[in-house]
């Protein structure tokens, strides 16, 4: 049997024809693979999206690890260790997907790290925030991972095959994380008055960040948004606002059932529009945060950079043994 050669390579097609066929493929529900022809806009959008997702998993380990040794029982210590390890695993899986996409540009994982340190590669707003109590460890698992499940489920059918497959595994694990977080929160909610106060205080602090997690409703809010392009290329299906509404629908009843108060007195469900009405977070603050001017942005980046530089000799040593 002849090895399979993609149609694009068998015929001399113009760029325009290639694009036409590419669009027809994704309209058809075909998966695009790493070695397939793809328009540069698609490749660059994927690189930006997946590298941000991957690096966010890795940077996300830093706030959570603060609570790993402090977890208040052996069982909780084991649970949170497993969780943070999974997140690093997701980061690794995603960076492998990006590495393939970067090949034509001759860039590597090391370049991504440099982009992170220079501020060109952003990471999720939530991971720029400080953690202050054990309730934060629960809330991150429950609601931040809960929010992540909603955005990632939206991309399970992504037109780019390697990303869609990575997400299958990631989402399956995120479900465990949300259960791990929920279990911590339930124990606190059933606990002493101090424990209950600890969750409310945590929710109050994290609420705006959770709303921001889904991104602005339109590019008018912050000046830029990739959502139109990602929808056009069938990487995702729903808009930021639709995802945020799904989050409200899923989690508001659960939050209230634990006896907690949502720190937004204007929040209500409008029956007529079938929409949640809520106070907008401060989108200028959001822009500052993802620019690297959030409350803990500099410290987290410094931690990552210092450890990267301290370990440079190890990478050099390993390169030597490979040579």
């Amino acid at each position: 049997m002849q090895p399979y050669t993609p149609l694009f390579e068998r015929e001399a097609l113009t760029e325009e024809q290639k694009l036409e066929r590419f669009i027809a493929r994704i309209e058809n529900g075909d998966k695009i693979e790493a070695d397939d022809w793809m328009p540069e806009e698609y490749r660059l959008t994927l690189i930006k999206l997946i590298s941000m997702h991957g690096i966010s998993e890795i940077m996300g380990a830093l706030p959570e690890k603060e609570w790993v040794p402090k977890a208040p029982s052996l069982r909780r210590k084991l649970g949170i260790m497993a969780k943070v390890q999974d997140e690093m695993g997701h980061g690794q899986l995603l960076l492998r997907v990006v590495e393939d996409l970067l090949t034509p540009y001759g860039k590597t994982r090391g370049d991504l790290m440099q982009d992170l340190f220079s501020g060109d590669l952003k990471f999720h707003n939530v991971f720029h925030m400080p953690t202050k109590s054990w309730a934060d460890a629960g809330l991150i698992g429950w609601l931040v991972d809960g929010a992540a499940i909603i955005t990632q489920t939206n991309m399970l059918g992504a037109s780019y095959g390697p990303y869609a497959r990575a997400l299958q595994r990631i989402c399956a694990e995120e479900v465990f994380h949300a259960q791990h977080g929920e279990s911590i929160i339930m124990a606190l909610a059933e606990g002493t008055p101090d424990q209950k106060a600890m969750i409310q205080e945590s929710l109050d602090r994290w609420w705006e960040s959770l709303l921001m997690f889904f991104g602005p409703a339109s590019k008018e809010t912050t000046g830029t948004s990739k959502q139109d392009i990602t929808i056009k290329y069938k990487i995702r299906t729903k808009t930021n606002e639709e995802l945020r509404q799904s989050f409200f629908t899923k989690y508001i009843p659960r939050v209230l059932s634990l006896g907690l108060t949502i720190p937004d007195p204007t929040l209500r469900f409008d029956e007529e529009q079938q929409l949640w009405i809520y106070a907008q977070p401060d989108w200028d603050e959001f822009k500052k945060i993802i620019r690297g001017e959030g409350p803990r942005s500099k410290e987290r980046l410094a931690l990552r950079r210092t450890s990267y530089e301290n370990n440079a000799w190890v990478r050099e040593a390993l390169a030597e043994t490979m040579a």
Partner: protein, 261 residues
């Protein structure tokens, strides 16, 4: 079980439990900071397994009526701890919540020497006169095979690479050996542990450790630095590093020891 034997068993179990509890803690401080992402995934898995081992030993103590496993893990003070000094030492300067400057050479040297010692102890514990302990040892042994392979690979790789790496490994191995004197010790009541046949004698195990590490060191052209005996952690002699570690490990639990977390 008769009283003298029970005390010997409790002593041994506390040594084993505290060792892995602290070893796991030092491993978990590296989370997110390992030399590359693949290593982060691997070494955090090892830290997690080790916390699981500590939990199994604390559980055996709970079953002996010593109090809950969580209480034993989180509330005992520094002078009550029986871990080897080797596992309580910091990973390098700086607190893990700020911007620590950890030393990967020290991590590799400590983890390899400790894991090899742990493997030798676990093999001996499989024949322990206390059946529940022997059965825990069988479970731990399965995971330990991979831990040892992992750290031995790092140890030989770093020693076989650049001059910088070799110098760092030499310095790290000297630090590790300075604290190694109590690793195989059973403390001042060790004779009772051996008499009860809970585990073979200290010197037998130490000889096995030498026999196992010597070919590796010879292959790498490394001379083992002298083993120090400044403190015996088995008798509650510890460094200030342990106090700091315990304060972190118990911070939330100690907010309310009667609450359900």
């Amino acid at each position: 079980m008769e009283t003298p034997n029970k005390q010997a068993l409790v002593d041994l179990l506390l040594q084993l439990a505290d060792d892995d509890f602290l070893y796991s803690y030092r491993g978990s401080e590296w989370l997110g900071l390992a030399p590359h992402i693949e290593e982060d995934v691997a070494s955090s898995s090892i830290a997690q397994d080790s916390m699981g081992h500590a939990a199994m030993y604390y559980q055996l103590l709970e079953e002996l009526g010593l109090g809950s496993a969580d209480m034993l893990a989180h509330t005992r003070l520094s002078h009550e701890r029986k871990n080897t000094v080797l596992v309580e030492r910091v990973n390098g300067p700086g607190y893990y919540m700020e911007t620590p400057e950890y030393d990967w050479a020290y991590a590799v040297a400590r983890n390899y020497c400790y894991t090899l010692a742990k493997k030798i102890r676990i093999d001996a514990l499989k024949k322990s006169s206390h059946a529940p302990l022997a059965s825990v040892a069988v479970k731990i042994n399965m995971e330990l095979y991979y831990h040892l392979m992992h750290w031995q690979t790092w140890f030989t790789q770093l020693y076989s690479s650049t001059e910088t790496a070799r110098d760092k490994m030499d310095a790290a191995l000297a630090l590790v050996m300075a604290d190694f004197g109590d690793v195989f010790s059973y403390g001042k009541n060790g004779a009772a542990i051996e008499e009860a046949r809970l585990i073979e004698g200290e010197n037998i195990l130490l000889d096995r450790w030498y026999a196992a590490i010597t070919p590796v060191l010879v292959g790498l052209g490394v001379t083992l630095p002298e083993i120090g005996h400044e403190r015996n952690g088995r008798d509650g002699e510890h460094t200030p590093d342990l106090n700091d570690a315990l304060a972190t490990l118990g911070e939330v639990y100690l907010l309310d020891t009667t609450a359900v977390w």
